[in-house]
């Protein structure tokens, strides 16, 4: 029997939720105060996933960076591979929020999209 301890992020209470696993299958969940704790624990144990947000370098833009996000959640254990891909890309201005800058980040099948507009550099001093 494997035991895992999670902190529920559903509200400021932050219940410590204990999960008992047998060969990767959840056998028992305890310590929660409401249903949100159960849902959270199930998701965190079976498929922990996060939205990754970062920035991508911009060429010819009015700003040096454009902020980006993964369009959907990516598996938690692929976050650093996502960051490697994100770091190796350079985007060309102009960019509009929603533009796809990486099509399949870290082989997750998830797109990385711009979250901000970046216009072309017109040589202003600001």
């Amino acid at each position: 029997m494997e035991k895992k301890e999670l902190i529920c992020v559903g509200c400021p209470l932050g219940c410590v939720v204990n999960v008992e696993l047998e060969e990767g299958v959840i056998k028992n969940i305890s310590g929660y105060s409401c249903k949100r704790g159960v849902t959270y624990a199930q998701k965190e144990i079976t498929n922990p996933a996060r939205i990754v947000t970062s920035t991508i370098k911009v060429e010819g833009g009015e700003k040096p960076l454009v902020s980006v996000k993964t369009k959907q959640n990516v598996p938690k254990n692929s976050i650093f591979q996502c960051m490697d891909d994100i770091r190796n890309v350079v985007a060309r201005a102009p960019i509009t929020a929603g533009d796809v800058l990486i099509e399949n980040v870290a082989e997750t099948g998830v797109e990385v999209v711009a979250t901000k507009d970046v216009g072309i550099d017109v040589g202003t001093s600001t």
Binding site: I7, C8, V9, C11, P12, L13, G14, S33, R50, I51, V52, T53, S54, T55, K57, K63, P64, L65, S67, V68, K69, K76, I79, F80, M83, A97, T115, K116, D117, T126
Partner: protein
């Protein structure tokens, strides 16, 4: 001299929502003055997601949230000036500002909405001893450098303060290849959201040391390390608990201060607890026709609530202007009733209500001074309890609210004070 009906000082989330709201409520001559090179304020550097759950029922990043309001400003063809620093507002609502195109200029407005936001507490406010080497940043400055200016402040990082910006930056610096060695928090609990503790620290195995603080900063030209010690219940470092951490960067996430230099010069009264203007139910300061909203009024934890508050301020400014134009007095009949914050409640915004001027209900926002579990928020009218709402948990880092209904206040007759307090079981 140009003249406007409503001038909004600051083009962040509060200023944008206030401007849009004033326009939507029938005011044409609206101007936003913004000191940065773009609209959106601090949202532009908050590239993480989690914004907008209350208002849009979806999770947006900061820039995406800002864009929704910037688009609206453009659709409505609202006027705004960027790279423009307001340097004075006088009691006649004459604004003095400066930028590169217009030089030093004055604007006359009938009404003003203060939306300047807040700034970070700095090392100087903490009295941390040691040299003054390079490598000490406020967390928000580091956030701007990393997310907007393409500059990494350092490689080995210690963070003091576990407010949300500190937690977010712990993750951000880690993702960008830095090693975040520890987050130290003076208080016995974190000032950040549970979600950020889990997803910014635990996900990356970054230790959080509660009841700890930085007692020394080492290095002469550049930070070489910091000494962290445990503190007692009074916050005093305990001798013999010192630990040395080598690092090249110290980030400070130790609180935010509403930026009220302009407000003070204008002569609006400041509440010493919030460091923001004292306002009535209309979010009007003690200077008639001058309103305040967002982090300049009191520091918020969710931008959604800033937006709601600012929309309210914009609407109230519009109504004020309508009265001015129709030669109706802006002095409401009846007395202003004080709202008293008691027993665990640190402050309320607003802190005064005029029943004749209020709408059917007014949202009172407040913060508690400690962690309260299984407690009640009670409202008293001159000693009579009119409501008692159970809260499973209240923490200082999360803003709370109660709604006051006009009908109930009016039914009380010669009402003098409204008291809001925490009651235990």
């Amino acid at each position: 001299m140009e003249s406007y009906d409503v001038v909004i000082i600051g083009g962040g989330p509060a200023g944008l929502a206030a401007a849009v709201s004033a326009k939507e409520h029938g005011i044409d001559r609206v101007l936003i003055l913004e000191r940065d090179r773009e609209l959106g304020g601090i949202l532009n550097q908050c590239i993480h997601n989690g914004f907008g759950l209350q208002i849009f029922k979806e999770e947006l990043t900061g820039p995406e949230y800002a864009k929704r309001f910037i688009n609206r400003v453009k659709e409505l063809e609202l006027e705004y000036k960027l790279n423009t620093m307001v340097i004075n507002i006088n009691e006649d609502k004459k604004i003095t500002a400066v930028n590169r195109e217009d030089g030093l200029f004055e604007i006359q407005s009938k009404s003003i909405i203060l939306a300047m936001g807040c700034r970070e507490r700095s090392r100087g406010a903490l009295n941390i001893p040691g040299y003054r080497p390079a490598g000490i940043f406020s967390a928000g400055t580091a956030q701007r450098l990393v997310n907007m200016e393409n500059y990494m402040p350092g490689k080995e990082v210690v963070i003091l303060g576990s407010g949300d910006i500190g937690l977010i930056m712990a993750r951000r610096m880690t993702l960008e290849g830095a090693k975040v060695k520890v987050v130290a928090e003076l208080l016995p609990y974190s000032g950040g959201l549970k979600r950020n503790i889990v997803q910014c620290l635990n996900d990356y195995d970054i230790p959080l040391k509660l009841s700890h603080t930085v007692v020394d900063i080492h290095g002469k030209d550049r930070v070489t390390g910091v000494t962290i010690a445990k503190v007692d219940e009074k916050g005093k470092p305990i001798l013999g608990t010192e630990e040395y951490y080598s690092c090249d960067t110290l980030l400070l996430s130790v609180g935010l201060i509403p930026e009220n230099e302009l407000s003070k010069e204008l002569g609006v009264e400041i509440n010493p607890v919030t460091n923001g203007p004292r306002v009535n139910e209309s979010l009007e300061t003690t200077v008639e026709g001058v309103f305040a909203c967002g982090n300049v009024l009191h520091v918020h934890d969710l931008v959604d609530y800033v937006t709601l508050e600012a929309q309210n301020a914009g609407k109230n400014a519009a109504e004020y202007i309508a009265r001015v134009k129709n030669n109706i007095s802006n002095k409401a009949e009846g007395a202003e009733i004080s709202i008293i914050a008691k027993n665990g409640i640190r402050y309320t915004v607003p802190e005064k209500i005029n029943i004749n001027r209020m709408e059917d209900s007014v949202t009172i926002r407040f913060r508690v001074g400690d962690i309260y579990k299984n407690s009640y928020v009670s409202v008293f009218l001159d000693g009579d309890r009119i409501s008692r709402k159970k809260r499973l948990i209240m923490v200082p880092s999360e803003m709370e609210e109660v709604k006051l209904e006009k009908a109930k206040l009016a039914a009380q007759g010669q009402l003098k004070t409204i008291t809001i307090e925490v009651e235990k079981e």
